[in-house]
Amino acid sequence: MDLFRSQVLICGGTGCTSSGSPELIRLFEEKIRDVGLDKEVKVVRTGCFGLCEMGPIVIVYPEGAFYSHIKPENVDEIVNEHLLKGRIVRHLLCREAVEQQGATKSLDEVDFYKKQKRVALRNCGVIDPERIDEYIAFDGYKALAKVLTEMTPQQVIDTIKASGLRGRGGAGFPTGTKWQFAANSVSDQKYVCCNADEGDPGAFMDRSILEGDPNAVIEAMAIAGYAIGANQGYIYVRAEYPIAVKRLQVAIREAREYGLLGKNILDTGFDFDLDIRLGAGAFVCGEETALMQSIEGKRGEPRPRPPFPAVKGLFDQPTILNNVETYANVPQIILKGPEWFSSMGTEKSKGTKVFALGGKIKNTGLVEIPMGTTLREIIYDIGGGCPNGKKFKAAQTGGPSGGCIPASLLDTPIDYDNLIAIGSMMGSGGMIVMDEDNCMVDIARFFLDFTVDESCGKCPPCRIGTRRMLEILERITEGKGEDGDIEKLETLAKNIKASALCGLGQTAPNPVLSTLRYFRDEYEAHIYEKRCPAGHCKKLLKYTIDPALCKGCSLCSKVCPVGAISGEIRKPFVIDSSKCIKCGACMEKCRFNAISRK
């Protein structure tokens, strides 16, 4: 391999790709060649750095200079100044990387990264995901080699058990225990599956791992295959993730070429191979039995358990299914030992967790933190709080199965059990921040709308029950709520939770229950006062003109599409609320902030 004095790392994750990073890669390569540095400086297209908000991101090593929001016209300057003359281009650095006295901070000293601990994401944004050599250079496939040459399958399972690793897909089942069940099942054919059907809205950590470090997942699946006695694996990945699919394909091909997949791996007699199956857009396929139905080419409908997949799973054979992030932890646990892993986290939740921070937050992106970090640290210290000076209202975790956590619980240390105790759940790790402008009743409606759409229809509690809940929520947000609606929602929620067939239905009422628990006053305001306190629900809004602020310029009456605003020039105008269609055009146009919406 050639040695380079400097590396230019450019993010090739979905976020930065959308903001134009492929063009940057091309320009950097071209320019570096033009100035004759192509033997000294290497351009590397990496996976996600995590700070998508600042994209496209370019990092230059060895300095660790962290350039953000880079545009094609900035390339010349970075090449001429930084690469040619060794002077960091300060005005293009991420704001936080420049200190007051003028010194610059490297990447891991920036607030966003300081509190993070990267285990599952360790190679994301560090290596070129489409080159297996780079993964191997970072200890890749060393864990597989160790397992195959030094450990028995039972020792592997015992190591995973001792580490305390729990499933990162949401429910948090102990991974080692799951592997033990499958290992105990007697069969000629067993399967190892990977759930990469990341469906929770607002969660993109699995996609980033697959895009940034696909070999880690492949290596872990081979280790799992050895542990339970399986020689075939399937990765079930969303078709909506084209970059992730492509990088997986490249990684599998390279691993086969290197003899790290296929027959007689590393000359140990162990056979293991992998296939990719594309999901086709059904949220319920994240449920394990439904996912296996889908790999079999059928409708992805869940079936009752037991029998559990570890006994009877894919093609009726013993099968384990783990999530992408769970697998990404496995090689590190094997290499560094279970004690290293269990030294991080809380008593019952070990290691780290990746969260996708999104919504009304300054630094959107991916963060990986040790379990037990508080929500406040994630949202304020790492995320930078809500933008535009707005007040934080709630953080939503666990997607459609989770709940909304209010400001009063921000100091809760995050782990599986604490989140369940406060009415939410870990889920796959989406964390959506909401501010004072978000209506919590509408958020509950939004999630029920999702569930109704994604319910597979097999069991009546989910198929019919969630629809009834949605209808009630729609009425409430449209100002037609009635006394007794809240109680009806609670009864329905209780019954659906108790009687639905799979995890989707059993957790579907959670968004309603958690918002009722912490934001009941918002429901009551909608129902009894026909008022949306957040000013979001269109049908409940009332636009009024403050006569003290109105200058009588008539602009509002000109833009009103229904002629609901009238008045005399230079005198306060008035909105006729019986005609008003609440489009908000007047408020946008008013130059004197005289129009308010309540």
């Binding site: 959308s18 086709a280 059904a282 999104g358 919504g359 997607g399 999630f447 999702f450 597979c456």
Partner: protein, 158 residues
């Protein structure tokens, strides 16, 4: 044989090749249907029947799978397919207003294709580009940090 079968025989030859290649594979139905949709752009009844015959399954099984998954469409799509993300991060940042504006500008309800066949308007699940919320895709092109007022300008490019 009626309809598209006689009009587009070369596409059926392509599909036959896919079926031949995947026939022995376990769980071949969905991968074959995905390739069929890539060839035809949608899955009309004739194509479903062709797959059913080729793989030795019933038409109802193929239809059942086709209607279960959001990815499969039974009607021809517009020249440009627009997908507005209604994932949570995009929704709390106002993607519904972007979708409403598109529907208004294109004069077409969500899930339908414009009369001239140029655009199909869809609401999609999370695209995983939450850092750019609110987001939409037109074909493979991603548009991020959108406001409703940008909609007419973007549409004009197509």
């Amino acid at each position: 044989m009626s309809g598209i079968r006689s009009k587009e025989p070369e596409k059926f030859q392509q599909l036959q090749a896919v079926i031949d290649a995947k026939k022995g594979m376990k769980g071949a139905l969905m991968p074959v249907m995905q390739e069929a949709q890539a060839i035809f752009g949608y899955l009309p009844k004739e194509v479903q029947q062709f797959i059913a015959d080729g793989l030795g399954v019933t038409l109802s099984e193929v239809y059942g799978v086709a209607t279960f998954y959001a990815q499969f469409v039974l009607e021809p799509q517009g020249e440009h397919v627009i997908g507005v993300c209604l994932g949570t991060a995009c929704y709390v940042k106002g993607s519904q207003a972007v979708l409403d504006r598109l529907s208004e500008e294109l004069k077409v309800p969500v899930g339908k294709t414009t009369a001239d066949g140029k655009f199909t308007l869809n609401a999609t699940r999370c695209l995983g580009a939450c850092g750019l919320a609110p987001v939409m895709m037109i074909g493979d092109e991603v548009y991020g940090r959108l406001t409703p007022d940008e909609v007419p300008g973007i549409l004009a490019k197509y």
